[in-house]
Structure formats: C-alpha cells, structure tokens
C-alpha cells in the first residue's frame, strides 16, 4: 500500500525526521488560508500516487496567498496521469542548497533490508551513477545501530560532528525505526534537502507491506485498486485489469502468467490476470467467473491444472453460474489434474468439452474471440 506524500510526512514527523511546514487541503480557499498561515512563498503539491509529478505539472509555486488560491483552483480536479487531483499539500517553500537521497527498501538478493544513500538526490536513483550510490544491507538481527548510521554518513562525506552529519545519523536511524515498526517495504526521502545547517525531507515515499496491514491498524488506508480488483481481493483472488478482450482465469500466479503469454502468442489480448489460487472452493470460483463475465469479454478461457484445486469443484462452479444466468460469450476450458474425470462429466452435462492441453484451449479461445 502506497502512502500519499502528506501521510508519509506525517509519519516522518512522528519519527523525528524533519519535514517542511505545511498542510493537506482539498479546496482553493483552504490553500489560501494555509498559505496565509505559512506567511511566505509556498508550494502546492498534488497528492497522487504516481511519481514525476513535477514534470507532469502537478507541482506549482505561489508567492502569495492569492497565488496559492489560484494555483489550487487550477490543480484541483485536473487529471495527472491515471489520477484525478483532489488533494494538495501546501507547504512552505524551502531554499535548497543541495539534494541528498536516502531510502530503505527490501533486497530480495540478500534477503535483508537495504539502505541506499547518495549525495546526488533530486533525481530518480536509477539515473544516479553506480559509484555515487552507497548500498548497505541491514542485518535484521542487529538492526541499524548508530555505528552503522555513522559509517554511512562518513561514506557520504559529511563530518560526523558537523550539524548536518549529526542530523543525518539521526535521520538514518529514525528511518529504520519507521521502516521496521510500520512494516514498510520502502521508505524513501528524495530529495533530502540541505538548507543551511538543517536537513528537511522535501518529499516522502512510503510503501507498506499489504500482508502486514492486519497489524498496522494505526496507519491510514489508501486504496489504489480498481473496483473490480478490489472486489476480487475481497474474494481472496489476485486480479489485475488489463486492456484486452479475452478474460482469463487460471489457478496459480505462474500458470496464469503463462496462460496470458500463450494467449498473446496466438494473437489474443487478455482482458485480465486472474489467479484463482489453489484450493478455492465452488463458491469463490463461481464468484470469480461472475467477475470475468461482468467485464464483458469476447471470450473466456479457463486453464486449470488441478493440484489442490479439484477439477470437479471448478466444473461445478461453472455449472452453477450457467444455471443461474446466461453466459453470452464462448467459454473454453482446459481441465486436468485432481478429480479430472468427475469434472469433465459435470462440464459435459453443462454442454462444454474440456481440453487436455492449455495451448489448444487458448488457441481456440483466440479464434472464438476473433470470430465474434
């Protein structure tokens, strides 16, 4: 779960990471008021979850409250990439001397958190030359102790006893505390602005591990999924909307991807990714089918290699749906594995012949979609 910048900055403040003064608003009047209270030039930052807001015109500067109001009027309601701007963070404008980069994220390779630091902040870290990036895996059985923070600051080239050096050590330690205690996948400050003898987190990117939300009751909730994706998630299914016209369901993330790839190979365009998981019962499978139908595809392909998933359950789910509603599009089913014979018998009764091989079923689905 990605957090909006203003939420990230609230967490930063909570963890003693300095942030600019500011407030999130939803109307131009509020923007004017906040600018008035800040008492100086300010910046209006669109609160959307995409990066590159600056280049896309989502960040506007204002020297007066009047300008802030006008800026907010212009931004609010506008589209920015896939998102509509409905919140702005109005902040004091800070004078930046230098931009640093700090992030803690998860490193699959070393199976540890990794701290990434650079004195070349402000741009995407991927664009910074490798030799200007410090990468330090964190041993979770030790944590990020201050000795390690000090060593990172040394490698960044700041004198440890200077105001900036001391503050950097604190910020690094506090970032790790935040990362750990909030089950974060990513905590990124880019840029971390050097303003005289002070440091200020000019931006905040925080992603929380979805799987840990059950124990992060204090955190706000941000919903990034489409309605259909959200509905699928509530059914315990992994569902991603795509822009094609053939609906796909399979059991297992890998085989679902493999099904999409095969579909594309035969010239079809998948309407979605739907991993019905392993061991899903009749009811959930039926709901998954309803979900696919609700998106009005030209054809549906179901690819089941039954392991935990029982073929008869899948067939029964299909029969149930078919008994209750019209299915206006062709459905092609590949069904092998556990209880294959029972499953096929049920399908046959429902008037559908199951395929043995996924490639045959998928090829057929593409043909049917194209001819419809």
């Amino acid at each position: 779960m990605k957090l909006y910048e203003y939420m990230g900055k609230e967490l930063f403040a909570q963890f003693q990471i300095p942030v600019p003064q500011g407030k999130v608003i939803t109307t131009a009047q509020e923007a004017e008021q906040v600018a008035l209270n800040l008492g100086g030039p300010c910046v209006l930052k669109s609160q959307v979850l995409s990066g590159k807001r600056g280049k896309a015109g989502g960040i506007v500067f204002a020297d007066t409250p009047q300008e802030a109001k006008e800026g907010a009027e212009k931004l609010l309601g506008q589209r920015l990439g896939d998102y509509t701007i409905d919140m702005l963070l109005v902040e004091e404008k800070i004078s930046i001397e230098k931009e640093l980069y700090l992030a803690i994220t998860i490193d699959s390779g070393s199976r540890q958190p990794i701290l990434i630091a650079s004195t070349q902040g402000g741009m995407d870290i991927e664009e910074v030359p490798e030799e200007d990036i410090i990468k330090e895996p964190i041993d979770v059985l030790i944590g990020l102790k201050s000795f390690l923070a000090k060593d990172i600051v040394r490698r960044m080239g700041f004198p440890l006893l200077s105001p900036i050096g001391k503050e950097l050590v604190n910020i690094i330690s506090n970032m790790y505390n935040l990362f750990l205690s909030k089950d974060a996948e990513l905590v990124e400050i880019n840029p971390l602005a050097v303003c005289g003898k002070k440091l200020v987190a000019a931006d905040a990117k925080i992603t929380i591990d979805d799987e840990a939300l059950f124990r992060q009751q204090d955190l706000p909730r941000v919903e990034e999924n489409t309605e259909a994706e959200q509905a699928a998630r509530e059914l315990g299914l992994a569902f991603v909307e795509l822009d094609g016209d053939i609906a796909v369901m399979a059991n297992g993330a890998g085989i679902t991807m493999g099904t999409l790839d095969t579909l594309a190979y035969y010239g079809g365009k998948p309407a979605n990714f739907l991993d019905a998981g392993g061991g899903t019962g009749v009811e959930a499978t039926a709901k998954a089918l309803e979900l696919l139908l609700s998106r009005n595809p030209k054809a549906i392909v179901i690819n089941i290699f039954g392991g935990i998933t029982r073929c008869d359950d899948v067939a029964r789910a299909f029969a149930t749906v078919k008994a209750n509603r019209e299915i206006p599009v062709p459905v092609v089913i590949r069904l092998v594995g556990t209880n294959q014979e029972e499953g096929r018998a049920i399908l046959q009764e429902a008037g559908i012949e199951a395929y043995d091989f996924m490639q045959d079923a998928i090829k057929k689905a593409v043909e049917l979609a194209h001819s419809s």
Partner: protein, 289 residues
C-alpha cells in the same frame, strides 16, 4: 540421488491437525514420504492417519530424528513456527504459508542462516525428490524419477511443465519450488549449484518469472555450469507496475523485465522456451545430445 531430501528424510508436519495439514499429510504419505510426526499445541498424544501428534517441535524431536519440517500454520503465526523448527535443530524447513509479512520473512531467513538451515518458501508448493520423498502439495501422479532437475518460483506452472515432462516419460531428480514471495529461503543459484553437484541430474529446468533479479543472478552462475539449462520465463505479456499474483512478480522502474531475463539467460548459454509447452521438447533434445 537427489538434492535436499531423499528416501531417508524423516519429516515433521507442523500444524498437522488442520484441514490442509491432514489432507497433505495423507497425500505425502501416499507418495512415500517418511512422515514421522506432527505438531499441534494441545493435541499431543493423539494421532493423524496413524502419525503421532506432539504438543511442540521439541517434544517431537525428543521422540524422532527429524530431518525436515513442513509448516502449515497461518501467516501471522508462521514466523513463530519457523523459529520453533529452527531452534529445535531441524535443518530443512518448508514453509507453504502465503501472505506472510515481508519483515517476518526477512527475520525467518536471518535465523535460518544463523542456524545453518535450508528454508524452502514461504509461499511454495514445496519440494519433490521424485520417487523418494515429496514435501507438501504437488499432486502425486506427475512426479516420476529421472534425470531432470527442476527449480521454479511458481507452483501450478511447475506442475504444468513437470506434468508434460512426465507425460513424455522424462523423470526428475528433484523439483524445487522456491516460493513466489520477494523474500524466499533459496535462490536459483543455490539450487543450480546443488544440481550441478548432483551426479544424477543431467539437465536443469529453470522456471522463472518477471520481477526481481533472481533470473539475472542465475544467469551469472549458468555461465560457469557444466550442465545444460532449459529456461522458461512467465510474464512476457505483463504490463509494468502491476503485481502478477506473486509479491515478486512486478516490473518496477524498468527492472525485472521479461526481455532482460531472457537476454541474460540466453547469453549465459541457457535455452529459453517461449511458451511452457516447449520446455519438454527442448529438454528431450538436450537429453539426446
């Protein structure tokens, strides 16, 4: 021969009295896996399918030599279960549980390293040394002994490919499911090294997917391997920024793309199949040559 587990491996099932635990215990037993005990706090003294149930892993270890444990506990309790197995000295721990918080997974791996144990998973179908020992959930009929080593991130896709191999009479030494999460105990490289050293394994099948850089790292090792590798990467048609079921299967910031992985593997000398069903064909060719 096989890697990690074989016909002598004695297995404990943590969470044996649950629905999943019971079902798969019976399936594993049917495959020939030596299941010597299970745990379920408070149910010590009972049995499941004739297998003794203990209150704790330590109690089980007092009564049996245990080589491997498989964990069926819910996600919020999985770290505790893994630590219990590690602390009791079990050296192979298979975690099928999905949806474990990633910070818990990192802790599990750190402890696994500290205890010198092999952790398979989380979010894995497990591991099968064909004809000898099956730990966890793959359907029994599709695994027959032979000379192909298989390592994969994803479950059903593996059954699909292994099922096709078996249908063509091509058996496997060991099939390893690393797990679909971003943090898992084994890397492709770890498993490739074991296959490289296993005298029975003649060809290795690597089943990867988009996201992360595990396949790119594997490619580095494949360069120096003596055994041929056939690979398939799922997710060619996945758009960037969308997580494809698995926590790791996402193309972010242009990293972990299908094209990058295929390029790395091909350059390292692996044969890369474009579609899943091409894998058995390529393996057959490779075995012949």
């Amino acid at each position: 021969m096989a890697i990690i587990i074989d016909d002598k491996t004695q297995v404990l099932v943590q969470g044996i009295t649950g629905k999943q635990g019971q079902f798969h215990t019976m399936q594993m037993k049917a495959y020939g896996t030596k299941i010597v005990g299970g745990t379920s706090p408070g149910k010590g003294g009972t049995t499941v399918d004739g297998i003794p149930v203990y209150d704790t892993v330590r109690e089980a270890c007092e009564n049996h030599k245990i080589d491997a444990s498989v964990i069926f506990t819910p996600a919020f309790f999985a770290k505790e279960a893994a630590l219990e197995a590690l602390e009791a000295g079990i050296k192979v721990v298979v975690i099928i549980t999905e949806h474990i918080p990633v910070h818990d997974e990192m802790e599990i791996m750190a402890y696994g390293k500290r205890y010198g144990a092999t952790i398979i998973g989380p979010n894995t179908f497990g591991i099968v040394s064909s004809g000898q020992c099956k730990i966890v959930i793959p359907p029994n009929p599709y695994f027959i002994p032979g000379s192909v080593g298989v390592v994969a991130r994803s479950g059903t896709l593996t059954y699909e490919i292994v099922g096709n191999l078996t249908a063509q009479g091509i058996g496997q030494t060991t099939v390893v499911g690393m797990g679909g999460d971003r943090i898992v105990g084994l890397s492709f490289v770890d498993v490739l090294k074991l296959f490289e050293e296993d005298p029975e394994t003649k060809v290795v099948v690597l089943i990867g997917e988009i996201g992360g850089d595990a396949e790119e790292r594997a490619a580095e090792y494949i360069k120096i391997m003596t055994k041929p590798v056939v690979a398939y990467i799922a997710g060619k048609s996945a758009p960037p920024g969308k997580r494809m079921g698995h926590a790791g299967a996402i193309i972010e910031r242009g990293k972990g793309t299908f094209e990058g992985k295929v390029k790395a593997l091909s350059e390292a000398g692996a044969k890369v199949a474009e579609l899943p069903f091409e894998v058995p064909v390529m393996v057959k060719e490779t075995l012949k040559s």
